[in-house]
């Protein structure tokens, strides 16, 4: 092999010729073929791959929708209706894209929950976790701006309310809002820039996802036991074991997705968004899309404009410092007999906030939202730091292979893991 060329293992001469000059095949083989992965994943570990697939579905449908959409206040609504009625399979593209946003948040919320339950945010995966939070924020921005594009009543008033959040900033708030709008109300300049950014941000997400995956492939995956693999007996190659396990998850995911798209395509939307935007009339009951409701409930729980906005942003910002708030060295909640109940209660609080966010801002929902918001922050800022010191975790298993094989004593010679490793 000549100097400067990669020493390729591939037999196929064409693949080998390319691989020697640009070792993409070797890289794929290393990162997605033989990549050593903990052998004890459960189905929670499907959701990263599902999120990746969801992102690709959103980009593909989005690019084709953009071929038919017109970003102008006088034509946007009609161009969306034209997609629904006249464009071949336009209804399918739009319903897949709209429900794809909901599926994306379902998948990502479960993915985040997986990280919280099994302590995937802890050392050495802090940066991996923080990149994930960045992706989450980018997703929220993208979803919000995408929802504005059909230029219905909910689009318009959602855009008005969310951009007005920035008016809470002292001194410069109103100027910032004018800058965001490109005018003195949400209007055509706003729609144009939202369209431009809605097209841009998914590709920024792709970039951050690449970093997220790159960081993952340095630290390796966490696993349900939360302990590090101690050797080849604890891991199996990513392919075929997890490609096939992910495929099972993909089928289940696509079934849920298809039920939404084909049988209840507007279930998660709001009928008001089928009324063209009217800057003179606000609908009686405006709510964001379901995936923003927990944060919307936090916003409304605070009886102060600036305080509500700050707390709402803090509810996500707190995730950035989570790796340092949780002082326990034990990752998986399986071995944290006290913390797991507090975390489950946090999940309840999150669900309560999601529910209250969709209700009108009146009693008892406001008081319930306040209690849930209080616990949301209490868990992160007080309970987790204290439990790291006070809680006595269960004893961790010696290795991943040990509980899997259910046996005491040393592994038999040529344990079941060995032949799989070679493959």
């Amino acid at each position: 092999m000549a100097i400067g060329l990669h020493d390729s293992d591939f037999k196929n001469p064409v693949v080998r010729w390319i691989d020697a000059r640009l070792p993409v095949f070797t890289m794929m083989q290393k990162e997605y073929g033989t990549f050593p992965t903990p052998r004890n994943f459960n189905y929670f570990w499907n959701f990263g791959a599902l999120a990746m697939i969801n992102l690709m579905i959103m980009i593909a449908t989005g690019i084709f929708l953009a071929m038919h959409y017109t970003p102008h206040t006088t034509m946007a609504f009609d161009s969306v209706e034209r997609i629904m009625r006249d464009v071949n399979y336009g209804w399918l593209l739009r319903y897949v894209h709209a429900n794809g946003a909901s599926m994306f948040f379902i998948v990502v919320y479960i993915h985040i929950w997986r990280g919280l339950w099994y302590g995937s945010y802890k050392a050495p995966r802090e940066l991996l976790w923080m990149l994930g939070v960045v992706i989450f924020l980018l997703m929220m921005a993208t979803a919000f701006m995408g929802y504005v594009l059909p230029w219905g009543q909910m689009s318009f008033w959602g855009a008005t309310v969310i951009t007005n959040l920035f008016s809470a900033i002292p001194l410069v708030g109103p100027d910032i809002v004018t800058w965001l709008w490109g005018g003195f109300s949400v209007d055509n300049p706003t729609l144009n820039r939202f369209y431009s950014l809605h097209y841009l941000l998914p590709f920024v997400i792709v970039g951050v996802v690449f970093l997220h995956v790159a960081a993952l492939h340095i630290t390796g995956s966490n696993n349900p036991l939360g302990i590090d693999p101690k050797g080849p007996q604890d891991t199996i190659p990513f392919h075929p074991y997890y490609t096939i396990k992910d495929s099972v998850g993909v089928v289940a995911y696509l079934i849920v997705f298809a039920i939404l798209v084909f049988f209840m395509p507007n279930y998660l939307g709001h009928p008001d968004n089928y009324i063209p935007a009217n800057p003179l009339v606000t609908p009686a009951h405006i709510v964001p899309e379901w995936y923003f409701l927990p944060y919307y409930a936090v916003l409304r729980a605070v009886p102060d404009k600036l305080g509500g906005v700050v707390l709402m942003f803090a509810s996500i910002a707190v995730l950035f410092v989570l790796p340092w708030l949780d002082t326990s060295p034990v990752r998986s909640m399986r071995f944290r007999p006290v913390a797991k109940w507090f975390l489950l209660l946090w999940l309840v609080a999150f669900a309560v906030l999601l529910y209250c966010g969709g209700k009108p801002p009146e009693e008892p929902y406001v008081s319930i939202s306040r209690a849930a918001t209080f616990y949301y922050f209490l868990y992160f800022l007080v309970i987790l730091p204290l439990l790291g010191r006070l809680e006595r975790p269960l004893s961790l298993p010696e290795s991943i292979a040990r509980p899997v094989l259910r046996g005491g004593g040393p592994l038999p010679a040529g344990a079941a893991a060995q032949p799989m490793e070679k493959a």
């Binding site: 591939f10 037999k11 794929m28 083989q29 997605y32 073929g33 033989t34 593909a60 449908t61 084709f64 071929m67 038919h68 034209r82 009625r85 006249d86 464009v87 071949n88 399979y89 336009g90 399918l92 593209l93 190659p237 392919h239 075929p240 490609t243 032949p419 070679k422 493959a423």
Partner: protein
């Protein structure tokens, strides 16, 4: 990836495991290919003309205001269509041309439904420009029909290519006379 699959097949201990695995790979692969194709189709189809575009596929033309010797241009499917009320001399010139001298031999009678009306798509068959010759002041080329200024194709009074790089005659669209003074194109 197929590489690792093959290695796995080889590693399986059963004697007849190999054909079974080949069969499974073939079935799974075909299934995936059909699935990808089925998913790709709506995307591809969405780029074909939409229903509102197809709805614009016919154009009605009233012939009564078009005087002898003059022509109008109408839009059909976003393209110009030349409707020419030819003079007797122009018809005569078109019929007189020997077919052996035409690059794309076609009799004038085959290109006309009812005399003296000539209806052709006004797009040069070379590279898609619109030839000149509709207005009385336009150059009409050496054969009194149309002249394409882009690359110099000359069309005669039957819209047939006579000289220049265009390979074929101006296309006669599908049309029908709905009355003596009315046609529907498309």
């Amino acid at each position: 990836m197929a590489d690792t699959m093959a290695q796995h097949g080889a590693a399986s201990p059963g004697e007849d495991g190999e054909p079974r695995r080949d069969f499974l790979k073939l079935v799974a692969g075909s299934f995936a290919a059909v699935g990808v194709g089925a998913m790709a189709w709506p995307f591809i189809a969405s780029m074909n003309p939409a229903r509102d575009v197809l709805a614009l596929s016919t154009t009605e033309v009233d012939l009564s205001p078009i005087a002898v010797g003059s022509a109008v241009t109408v839009v059909w499917r976003g393209k110009p269509v030349f409707v020419r009320n030819r003079t007797a001399e122009e018809v005569q010139a078109a019929r007189a041309a020997p077919l052996s001298q035409l690059p794309d031999p076609q009799a004038d009678q085959a290109r006309v439904t009812r005399d003296p009306w000539l209806i052709v798509v006004g797009i040069c068959t070379h590279l898609g420009c619109v030839p000149l010759g509709q207005k009385p002041t336009d150059p009409r080329g050496d054969y009194g029909g149309w002249f394409c200024p882009c690359h110099g194709s000359h069309y005669d009074t039957s819209g047939r290519i006579r000289k220049g790089p265009a390979p074929a005659n101006l296309v006669v669209p599908e049309y029908a006379f709905t009355s003596d003074t009315q046609i529907r194109i498309g």
